[in-house]
């Protein structure tokens, strides 16, 4: 026999469509907002997360990637001579001005790294090799920003901070959280492109620890040796940067609030329709009680309805979300849905639907089975 829950749910097709719309709407809203949040968050720390470094030495007080302050390159040698450190490199991250061929200017973030190492360089190369950046005046940009930066062809020459720059390669999918694109270049070039930085200075020092080294211990040792700096592990610097952009600037809060609203709207719509369905079937629930059904039996019917709404709503909602995410990838916004989030969404949808049925369950508890004898 098809279960009572199933029949009650599908009997009124219009009402079921409304329930489903509520669930789907909530799911898509939450996925898009949370996905934006995750997308933004990972974008803010993208370069750090791909840096291959273990430790970051930053000028005291620096909290996030985009706002480094110059420190003396002498600190590089102090870092290098610390036991447990096998490699250390200077690293520049600096705002600058990019002059398009048509004369217009764009803000960019110049990233200067050592092309001989595997630390801090570009990834996802579609054209060119990292080694190409060893030549003077060469830069990599991301395909996504070609239009913004007025780049029409490989080998094109532009000006950064008044210095010549030649495009020798492209990356894909390296977006910056701000509107300023990242420009990858060698440390040497970056000294010219990045403003207000002297030859004997660097913004960051990236270090690689010996395999199996205790990073916490290394951090302490570095702090003791190198003055006026903060030491982060890569994970810490990543988190600190994410925290700054998402929470300190409020950019993330707005997105999270929107996600929360999606959740609230979802719960309310689902609660309302499940409640309406329950009210429709009140007499039957009363009859069930009179027949001797314990309350638990009726709760199960209602919760089953909620779970079925959740499962169907989840399937449809996720399908729509997937389409939205696909479309978003072509535009500027990066909505991301890692699989744990997809799983968590299922849990959230279930919780939302079951939570929404609590009002109905409360109502059913109060049904007096004696009602069945009333006309």
């Amino acid at each position: 026999m098809a279960s009572l829950a199933w029949r009650n749910l599908f009997h009124d097709k219009v009402r079921f469509a409304v329930t489903l719309t509520g669930v789907v709407f909530a799911i898509v809203l939450i996925v898009v907002q949370l996905g934006l949040f995750i997308g933004f968050t990972t974008t803010t720390s993208n370069v750090i997360d791909h840096s291959n470094a273990d430790l970051w030495v930053v000028s005291k007080g620096v909290q996030y990637f985009d706002a480094g302050v110059p420190v003396s390159e002498r600190k590089l040698y102090q870092v290098m001579s610390t036991p447990g450190i096998i490699k250390a490199e200077k690293y520049i991250v600096r705002f600058s001005r990019w002059k398009r061929p048509d004369g217009a200017e764009e803000n960019v973030i110049v990233i200067g790294f050592n092309p001989d190492t595997s630390m801090g360089g570009p990834w996802n190369l579609t054209v060119g090799h990292v080694k190409d950046l060893k030549a003077a005046d060469t830069v990599f940009i991301d395909e996504f920003y070609r239009e913004k930066l007025g780049v029409t062809h490989l080998g094109q020459v532009v000006e950064i901070n008044g210095y010549r720059a030649r495009i020798v390669g492209y990356t894909r999918g390296i977006r910056s959280f701000t509107t300023s694109p990242f420009i990858f270049t060698s440390f040497k070039n970056a000294l010219n492109y990045g403003r207000l930085i002297n030859e004997d200075q660097t913004i960051y020092i990236m270090a690689k620890a010996a395999a199996g080294a205790d990073l916490a211990k290394l951090k302490r040792q570095l702090s003791a040796r190198v003055t006026n700096v903060d030491i982060f592990t890569t994970a810490e610097f990543s988190r600190s940067t994410q925290f700054y952009w998402m929470l300190t600037t409020g950019a993330g809060i707005a997105v999270l609030i929107a996600a929360l609203m999606g959740l609230i709207v979802g719960v309310v719509v689902v609660a309302q329709t499940i409640y309406a369905t329950t009210m429709d079937h009140l007499r039957e629930f009363g009859t069930l009680k009179a027949m001797g059904a314990p309350n638990g039996y009726i709760y199960r019917v209602i919760i089953k309805q909620a779970i079925m709404s959740a499962i169907i709503g989840y399937a449809v909602g996720m399908a729509i979300s997937a389409v939205v995410i696909r479309i978003s990838q072509k535009g500027g916004a990066a909505i991301r849905m890692p699989w744990p989030m997809a799983v968590a969404m299922f849990g959230l949808t279930l919780a939302m639907c079951i939570g929404a049925s609590i009002v109905s369950i409360k109502k059913v508890t109060t049904i007096d089975p004696a009602m069945v004898f009333k006309g």
Partner: protein
């Protein structure tokens, strides 16, 4: 004949706001296995209240209720559903079928409540619908059935759990006389052949011929001797209906 259901000194007072209504003022009665008892009386006399108390849907304000030899007066609210489930089948004036389920599924639901597994419930439900002459209506939804058919589905459902006691509140009031007779015959056969106790509330004198006993209730009290309806109106001497031997109806 053994007693299937009995009440003793039962009172019921509804506390509705400031005014309390005494619906039952000390009722004692019993119905035996194999007996069809009609509960009759004017509107507001307490028939439904008495039926609800016998059916363990309502708890009396005072007094005792015994179902199949078990005293249920002392049971907590939470334990009453199990008594209903095990011993009592209900039939309602308004049928109270589940509109989203087919006739067959309505019966199966009752079996599901009792924990009968799906396969067995299906065949049982077919047998029960066969027994009330609705073999062909197994897959019909209540909306597509006549009143009489609906009530027969409701009877099949009430019998599904094989209860010892059937309680019906005006089961024929919403039916035409032919359907009403069919329903009554099914209930009488049930009492006769399967030794079940059937208690039904009615206003309909045409059902008198199906009764083994008539219990009259007025102002929450059982009248000392069963008096037929006509007798109260005409004031004539009451024939003794308790000795009536109902003729089988063809």
């Amino acid at each position: 004949m053994t007693t299937a259901i009995a009440v003793k000194d039962v009172t019921k007072t509804y506390a509705s706001g400031a005014a309390a209504v005494q619906a039952l003022a000390g009722v004692t009665m019993a119905v035996s296995h194999g007996e069809v008892a009609l509960l009759m009386g004017p509107s507001g006399s307490g028939k439904t209240t008495l039926l609800s108390i016998m059916g363990c849907i309502l708890r009396p304000t005072s007094g005792f209720v015994q179902v199949c030899g078990r005293d249920v007066s002392g049971l907590s609210e939470a334990k009453l559903p199990a008594v209903r489930l095990q011993h009592i089948g209900f039939i309602f004036q308004g049928f109270n079928l589940f509109p989203t389920l087919t006739a067959g599924e309505n019966v199966e639901l009752s079996l599901d409540l009792k924990g009968v597994r799906a396969g067995l419930a299906k065949s049982r439900s077919r047998e029960l619908l066969d027994a009330v002459g609705l073999t062909k209506k197994y897959d019909s939804f209540p909306a597509d059935l006549s009143g009489g058919e609906k009530q027969r589905v409701a009877i099949a459902r009430a019998l599904a759990g094989d209860p010892q006691v059937i309680l019906a509140d005006e089961p024929t009031a919403a039916l035409d006389s032919h359907s009403g007779r069919t329903v009554m015959e099914i209930l009488r056969t049930l009492a006769r052949q399967r030794d079940r106790a059937v208690v039904l509330v009615t206003h309909d004198n045409r059902l008198l011929e199906f009764a083994d006993r008539i219990i009259r209730i007025e102002d929450g009290k059982i009248m000392p001797s069963p008096i037929p309806y006509e007798a109260t109106i005409s004031g004539a001497d009451a024939p003794d209906y308790s000795s009536i031997n109902p003729t089988p109806h063809g």
